[in-house]
Symmetry: C2
Subunit: 500 residues, 2 copies
């Protein structure tokens, strides 16, 4: 795999000096065009062996391009705020918006590689990480990102030679540390793992470019030209109409039996018992969230449901039991300008709380497979691929000890009509009813189909859907509270059982 | 000052139960109206003595109001990311956008009070902090925020009684800690300092409401009604046209002599010497920013100047000397939707970097007293008050070891014309010239006046303006680099001299 990058590639000074001005001008021009178009971001990952010129190359790109539309992220040690969230959060927060370029020195590949080379993890762990990385990149590419991955390579001898050269020059001596020599000893292992990473994650949408790092002219020119070529091609495509192709969407149940129809919406609890039940579960929730162990977990509770199904009421029964300092309710509305410049999931990632907190989403990332699907706000290919992406998103949270609790509040079509009319009648509740609600109601069956497909595809062992029969709001609220308590209890028990 | 809050205020259960539903409904309605109007945020600060019901009151507000448009911030210990920035950064990042409410349990008053009570600081320090707090609140109020400050009070005896009561009940016992009893011993001192804080910071735009905290019905009703009244009044005013009154703007210099006219724009350096000079100062900058001590400071370099004065070129000569991982260039363009929902300075606060980093602003917070003044994008009162606000902003940075370097790049009207024509002629530079540039040029004298006023009012000992004679771009770049190096050098020396 590294054969071509050990041939001793070289570009002489004269050729380099001759070609550079045109390359720089073209890069700058492409960058401006990209910024004005604001249709896609460029994400550049830079990895490879020590001494192969990763940092120099990045600095050079910064010199060639307009630093106003380019940001470089040295992904060193995570901050405490970053450690409190899933591993990928620190990358999400630095993703370049459409029209701009982000360079990551150190990427989602760095930690998995280092861990395996140093014997802190197993090959199976690496494979899992790579699988996840690939899925992430596919998603970013589907969202429009142009992804370029550069691997700076040196043969073992050349690495030694480079490190010696750097050490010999007083100007660059500081850049060679003992750790570099430590790493050098692990060269063979690193090379092997690197090769495996490149082999598994070089995809059509995010290929690796292996660059021989010894000759700086060759290295810089290769990176610059690869980057220019990729941006230019994308710019040329950007104005073409692209027809996305996806597998046909799921068929409705052919025997007219579906998961929503199995719900017994007539379930209710005696209104007399409601206050006691409410106090009981609110008390339980209060105790659970105030326990010392709670600061080790994070809870994300998410509400979807028919219009007027009582999401707001259920949410208030939860927050009523909580300490206001440790929860947050995120109402999901139309994305803001800054959110629209990012991949779909960005606006949810940004609200993932620190440990020891509970965040409630009033509507959620499932909007893509519900309202966006039914109202055709996104393409069929977009919502078809979303199921897997949403599962991946939740899996990342769960791996980080985040308890993900998902509620679908279900009411019958008749019950909805009754509630709409009530809202119309009561001045104070009037603001709760919009013309949109009536329009959505006309598409009842389509929404029902979307909900069934969603539950079938995203109710997982680690983040199951809880369907709430909500014709009786008291029943619904108690079931929500009970489910939430059970989930938190299980998570706290899990923490306890885990070996320290 | 606390006399009225020690009278033993009380509201009996019956009255409370009778009045509560109407209060809740009205609060909810006001909140929705406020959200729909999206013209002002509500900022609520809650302080006072232990056991006076601060937390309970906040939780109750959360229960009464819609938690989707309300967020509570328990300002506990700062995170490492927060410690790396000026003290106020953590409040700025949590400010509620227009239409929403933010409750701060613990505020910018907490630390100064605690420090004085515990003898870690002097009265003079407190006075300074209060002065700053007042200026901040005035600014927030001028930006439209509705600010409410509640001080929960208990007499010494009542505090003891409350703490004992809480301890006696198994349900609330956990809430009384040893620290509360420690604090109790300091009651008299705390009361004294509290009084002084309230006296100095109860202003027309952000008054304190002292609330007797013993009887929870009285306490809750008082806070709820005060809040409702304030929001209602503001909503009623919101639709009125408000004429802001300010002192008359500065007159132009009456003898036609001003700071810009004193610049010798003919200064230049020999083009032959430029490469050497450039290398010299870039090398120096590289060394300074890579020194071990650099990680203790933060550098913010800011560029303003005439159109086509060469800001971009000067910035690239700086970034060319830096490690791409540790700098960031922020081009200031029109504010985004999220930025428009916040006070003016919010969009600059969000870009303040962590320690050991350098951030370059290409145009800056001075937009308010330059383009916004001249083009009348804001009212006269807005830009007239801005001078003081911008000075305050920079003072906060400097206090936090941030080196603030401000450049004005000045070219003559003739030189600008020459450059505009060049840009028109060269296809590649065409994108740099917009019709707006020509329009701005017509207002040359007005901009000149704005620049002179700006320099007169915001060139301070701690954050002086450096005027750059930029008709010769080589001269300008070297002077910029030289100034930046000197500022960083001085800051590093300062760090060294400081006692540990």
């Amino acid at each position: 795999m590294f054969e071509s990058a050990e041939l001793g590639h070289k570009i002489d000074r004269k050729t380099y000096d001759k070609e550079l001005p045109a390359l720089r001008a073209a890069l700058l021009e492409a960058q401006i065009e990209m910024f004005k178009l604001a249709k896609f971001p460029v994400i550049i990952l830079v990895g490879g062996v020590d001494g192969a010129g990763r940092g120099e190359t990045v600095n050079l790109l910064n010199e060639w391009m307009d630093p106003r539309y380019l940001q470089t992220h040295g992904m060193g040690d995570p901050s405490d705020e970053e450690l409190d969230r899933p591993m990928m959060w620190r990358f999400w927060r630095e993703l370049p918006p459409k029209g701009r370029t982000g360079i990551f020195l150190g990427s989602w590949y760095t930690r998995p590689i280092i861990n395996l080379v140093h014997g802190h993890s197993k090959t199976a762990d690496l494979d899992q990480s790579l699988e996840r990385a690939k899925r992430l990149e596919t998603m970013l590419a589907d969202e429009g990102a142009l992804i370029l991955k550069f691997w700076m390579h040196l043969s073992r001898d050349k690495q030694k030679q480079r490190l010696k050269l750097l050490e010999a020059d007083p100007k660059t001596r500081w850049r060679v540390t003992e750790r570099d020599w430590e790493h050098y000893k692990l060269y063979d292992k690193f090379r092997l793992v690197g090769e495996s990473v490149i082999r598994h994650t070089s995809t059509a949408e995010a290929p690796w470019t292996i660059v021989e790092g010894f000759d700086s002219n060759y290295r810089s020119m290769t990176v610059g030209k690869t980057l220019l070529d990729a941006i230019r091609k994308r710019l040329d495509e950007a104005n073409k109409e692209i027809t996305e192709i996806s597998a046909p969407p799921p068929l409705p149940s052919i025997d007219n039996l579906d998961i929503l129809k199995t719900l017994d919406l007539s379930q209710k609890i005696d209104k007399k018992n409601y206050p006691d039940e409410l106090e009981k579960y609110q008390g339980k929730l209060a105790l659970l969230t105030r326990s010392a162990k709670f600061k080790n977990i994070t809870v994300i509770a998410m509400f979807e449901g028919n219009d007027a199904a009582g999401k707001g009421g259920a949410i208030r029964r939860i927050t009523g039991a909580l300490d206001a300092r440790y929860y947050n309710v995120i109402p999901i509305a139309a994305p803001t300008e800054e959110e629209r410049a990012q991949p779909y999931l960005w606006r949810f990632w940004r609200h993932i709380p620190r440990r020891g907190r509970l965040t409630i989403f009033d509507r959620s990332w499932y909007g893509r497979v519900l309202v966006e699907r039914v109202e055709k706000f996104c393409s069929e290919a977009d919502w078809m691929r979303a199921y897997g992406e949403l599962n991946d998103f939740e899996a990342q949270m769960v791996r980080h000890n985040i308890v993900v609790v998902k509620f679908w509040l279900s009411i019958s079509k008749d019950e909805q009509l009754k509630r709409f009319k009530e809202r119309e009648a009561i001045a104070f509740k009037h603001f709760k009813l919009t013309p949109e609600d009536w329009r959505n109601r006309e598409k009842w069956e389509e929404y029902e189909q979307a909900v069934c497909d969603m539950v079938d595809r995203t109710s997982t062992e680690i983040a199951p859907w809880t369907l709430i029969e909500a014709n009786d709001k008291y029943f619904a609220r108690i079931k929500v509270l009970k489910t939430l308590c059970q989930s938190i209890e299980a998570a706290l028990k899990n923490i306890e059982n885990r070996k320290p």
